[in-house]
């Protein structure tokens, strides 16, 4: 077996391991949604598990764990900053809504 093959076979074991973790996390997400906790806690738990799954996919399947180039990380960090602003800024603006607005299912 060449070095390249040995290296790839190690990666393949990792991919199968990550798949198992993702499948378990999916089941956990469903189980957690049936817990008797507040809507806020449901939200926090569901998004935390989703974020963990996303991290695994990005790090292992998309090979970010092994990418070291500063240019790529620069692009990703800037994207993350803008995404945070894109979601946070409108959400933070909700404080300015008139009294007649009911804060729906998460209020």
């Amino acid at each position: 077996m060449t070095d390249n093959e040995a290296h790839m076979r190690q990666h393949i074991r990792l991919y199968i391991g990550v798949f198992t973790a993702l499948a378990v996390a999916t089941v956990l997400t469903v189980v957690a949604s049936n817990l008797h906790v507040s809507p806020t806690m449901h939200l926090v738990v569901a998004l935390t598990i989703a974020a963990a799954k996303a991290l695994l996919v990005a790090a292992i399947f998309m090979h970010l764990r092994w990418e070291k180039t500063i240019v790529l990380w620069g692009v990703l960090i800037v994207t993350a900053i803008f995404l945070t602003g894109l979601i946070a800024l409108p959400a933070l603006s909700m404080g300015g809504l008139p009294e007649s607005y009911h804060l729906g299912s998460w209020g």
């Binding site: 390249n4 093959e5 790839m8 990666h11 393949i12 991919y15 199968i16 990550v18 798949f19 993702l22 499948a23 999916t26 997400t29 469903v30 949604s33 809507p39 449901h42 939200l43 569901a46 998004l47 598990i49 989703a50 799954k53 996303a54 996919v57 990005a58 399947f61 998309m62 090979h63 990418e67 180039t69 240019v71 790529l72 692009v75 990703l76 994207t79 803008f82 995404l83 894109l86 979601i87 409108p90 959400a91 909700m94 809504l97 607005y101 009911h102 804060l103 729906g104 299912s105 998460w106 209020g107």
Partner: protein, 207 residues
């Protein structure tokens, strides 16, 4: 005429980005996709938090919306498995195993089509038949927008993967490293599509 003469850095890393250009270009494209779906997720947050208690703008429960977590959960597992087969296709090609890599690509394609088939058969078509169309409520408006855009991305991926299983695989004979790199880029796109669903599933089916 070699592929390298037409496009530079299809295999050799670019001196500035330190990776082959297709990969960097794909990441830039995915950054724009993050903003596209991010804007819709932001819209979802606003619509849900601002939803009134009654009327067409009121938020629906999963029972009211006839959304089954079992179907959503099944489709989640289908996409996760397709992500694994996609990366295994690339790994096989890196080891010079073209036939095996192509088989994994075919499985990925079949799983993608299964996802779309389940979505259409058990969700979209019954919903439309029962009158749960985008204009029914705010919930269904954003549901169809986000999941519909996601399905369009799945179909785009089906076209790309289908191309590399079919006519595109001629590139393997001419330049196997270039072909492998293009599969890696396809994989990056595919994993991103899986990533979006990882967030769509809980927000529409569980929360």
């Amino acid at each position: 005429m070699s592929s390298e003469a037409l496009l530079p850095h299809t295999v050799e890393p670019h001196p500035v980005t330190a990776m082959y250009s297709g990969k960097f270009g794909t990441w830039l494209f995915l950054a724009s996709e993050v903003m596209l779906f991010g804007a819709l997720f932001s819209t979802y947050v606003l619509l849900r938090v601002g939803a009134p208690a009654e009327g067409p703008g009121a938020w629906l429960t999963h029972e009211e919306a006839h959304l089954s977590w079992k179907i959503g959960g099944f489709n989640t597992l289908v996409l996760i498995i397709s992500s694994v087969t996609m990366v295994l296709a690339w790994a096989s090609l890196k080891m010079g195993q073209f036939a095996k890599g192509r088989r994994y690509l075919i499985v990925t394609l079949v799983l993608a089509l299964l996802f779309v088939a389940v979505k259409m058969t058990f969700e979209y078509l019954p919903h439309i038949h029962d009158g749960y169309i985008p204009s029914h409520s705010t919930f269904f408006a954003i549901y169809y927008t986000m999941t519909g855009l996601h399905v369009i991305h799945i179909l785009g991926g089906v076209l790309i993967i289908g191309y590399f299983i079919g006519p595109g695989c001629a590139l393997w004979k001419e330049n196997p490293d270039y072909y492998t790199n293009r599969i890696e880029c396809t994989g990056l796109y595919w994993h991103f599509v899986d990533l979006v669903w990882i967030f769509l599933f809980p927000i529409f089916y569980l929360l």
